[in-house]
Amino acid sequence: MDKFTRLTGRACPINQTNLNTDQILPARYLKWTRAMGIGKVLFQDLRFDADGNERPEFPINKPAWRNARIVVGARNFGCGSSREAAVYALYDYGIRCVIAPSYGDIFSGNAIQNGLLTAIVTDEEAAEIMEALQRTPEMPITVDLEEQTILCGNRTYKFSIDPVRRMRLLKGWDDIALTENYRDRISAFKASDRKARPWAIPEAET
């Protein structure tokens, strides 16, 4: 996993509450592997109409935001389906950070696993950043994970993130490597648990 420390880039505002992962990546692309270019179909049904024409009003289609590295969203960003491919789509499109007041629980967990930062600001701050971007679409934003700050024009915002997630992003930690360190503890737990809860083992097939 790539580390995240600091990023400066264009930021695309998408002001939709409850923007669910079905919108980020429609279900029909779930059979795609990442190698097939899942980033190309990010927000597919929001970006294109039924005939495949671009919807010019959808923010990421606007010239200033086409190459955005950051998305600024509203409350409950990424709610719904657990599809990690929604994170792959964002990441492979080039997005490295989402800024929003709250996230779908599974989505933000998936994001961290893939080096995508989910920064939390208040509703008002998200609205302010989005407004600033509407006024000056080309303005780059700087997100600093060590300082937990967002620099947007002449304003600096503090953002929050779970400390463990912050650490993992800063170090680019891999869960599995971490768990390996506890192999003995796991075996010990398993052995005593089998005695304590024999009913937890499924009956073998007869």
Partner: protein, 470 residues
């Protein structure tokens, strides 16, 4: 004296292998369910060349991509065939039991687990699917995870989690006839919002919850994710134990009795703490339908959709305009004036035998004004429904009786709602495009879907139940 604990604390403690200083806990996983979508995770195992750590605790199903009509042996669509073959190969390679298309126990993962007695009280259950919360209905700690976590569980049978805040949602009183578990859970979501329980573990409690059948509790816990919760659960009771007794994978004989003894302690002690409490009155819950593009957009059937012009909050007004425009509904329109084009009865929310009976009770001797599909949650339920003659009722009403799978809930098997079409559906998500690009979904209970089918528009099922046995 021991600190009083709630059921969430007890389940958590039973699975915590260790807790790091940073607050992350490593939890033991008792059951891991996989499906066609788990291919990303199996791919990671292949990359590392490692086996599944505990194949005997891992179970696979084919559900998301399986056809509901035509041959299931010889799937015509090559992409669907490939997805099904993939899960067959991945599970076979790792010695994981699969309920595949040639197995009479095949069905939707969240239906099969409880039905087979794989899901038990006191277990920690994960699956790469957000509706894993369903299994909490039997008193399990069950939650959906992403592909990286699926890979981690496959490799280690453990998962890292931070203990979530605990929330109790109590529904007391008595739901009136025609009001189902679906109406209760949609009312809860409408009340607290689609992010009202974000990150929380929920215990559903209260007399109206206790009064629900196991099927009803499964519907309830299924949709806890639609309020943003990590998991939802109902403390196990006699009803739970009765439901589980004799199920193929549940403990048997003396082992079952011993398990029941332990399961009986899985309840919230008096005076134990919750981080949040919400209460609802079941007497005030009416049959409810969604009108918009989030499950929180739910209203009693005698209501009208909102009018953005009367909404003082600008952001909210914008949301309402967008949702109504997508749904093709004029502001302020009465719900019962909304005509539907199609109905769907199925999905892990409402496709169990009781759901099919509830729909059939309304449809019996009546015809549907619109086409529709009924897909049982498992092949065993399909068989049982046929033994009870429910399939005849659906067919005589003019609906299609399909095979079991996720079907039109998400449409990736090809069962799609056409662009612009409006579907009354027993599923759990009315997201834009959920049932197909441009599809318009209204969520409701099976009986309410049946009522919409008979009326040709959204309708109150209660008058249609007069004089019928339900």
């Amino acid at each position: 004296m021991n600190q009083p604990q709630n059921i969430i604390d007890k389940l958590w403690a039973a699975h915590e292998i260790l807790r790091r200083e940073d607050g992350q806990s490593l939890l033991w996983v008792d059951r891991h369910y996989v499906h066609e979508g788990s291919f990303h995770a199996f791919g990671r195992l292949a990359e590392r060349g490692v086996p599944v750590a505990e194949p005997s605790l891992t179970f696979g199903v084919a559900d998301h991509y399986v056809p509901t009509r035509g041959s299931r042996r010889d799937i015509a669509n090559p992409e669907l065939a490939r997805m099904v073959r993939q899960v067959e190969e991945n599970t076979a390679r790792h010695g994981v039991k699969l309920f595949g298309l040639d197995d009479p126990r095949q069905g939707i993962v969240h239906v099969v687990g409880p039905e087979q007695g794989l899901t038990l009280p006191g277990l920690l259950i994960v699956c790469g699917d957000s509706h894993t919360s369903t299994h909490g209905a039997l008193g399990a700690y069950a939650f959906g995870i992403g592909a990286s976590e699926v890979a981690h569980v496959l490799m280690t049978q453990t998962i890292w989690q931070k203990k979530p805040p605990r929330m109790r949602i109590s529904v007391d009183g008595r739901a009136s006839p025609g009001v189902a578990a679906k109406d209760i859970v949609l009312s809860i979501i409408a009340h607290i919002g689609a992010d009202g329980a974000t990150r929380h573990a929920i215990e559903f409690a209260g007399s109206a919850i206790r009064a629900l059948s196991i099927e009803g509790r499964l519907t309830l816990c299924n949709m806890s994710i639609e309020a943003g919760a990590r998991c939802g659960m109902v403390a196990p009771d006699q009803l739970t134990f009765g439901y589980l007794k004799g199920r193929p994978y549940a403990p048997e004989g003396a082992a079952f009795d011993r398990a029941v003894e332990e399961w009986s302690s899985l309840k919230t002690d008096a005076d134990s703490e919750f981080d949040r409490e919400v209460t609802l009155d079941a007497n005030r819950i009416a049959p409810i339908v969604t009108w918009g593009t989030s499950p929180e957009d739910a209203l009693p059937i005698d209501g009208s959709v909102p009018d953005p012009a009367r909404e003082p909050d600008e952001a909210r007004a914008n949301y309402l305009r967008g949702a109504l425009e997508y749904m093709g509904i004029a502001p302020g329109k009465r719900l019962i004036d909304i005509a539907v084009d199609r109905v769907f009865i199925g999905s892990c929310t409402n496709s169990r035998i009781e759901d099919l009976r509830a729909a059939a009770a309304v449809l019996s001797g009546r015809t549907s004004k619109v086409p529709g599909l009924v897909s049982a949650g498992s092949s065993l339920i399909k068989m049982q429904a046929e033994q009870e003659g429910l399939d005849r009722i659906f067919l005589d009403a003019g609906l299609e009786w399909g095979e079991s799978g996720c079907s039109m809930c998400v449409g990736i098997n090809g069962d799609l709602v056409a662009p612009g079409e409006r579907c009354a559906s027993t599923t759990n998500r009315n997201f834009r495009g959920r049932q197909g690009p441009g599809a318009r979904t209204h969520l409701m209970s099976p009986a309410m879907v049946a009522a919409a089918a008979v009326a040709g528009h959204l309708a109150d099922v209660r008058p249609m139940l007069a004089g019928r046995k339900v």
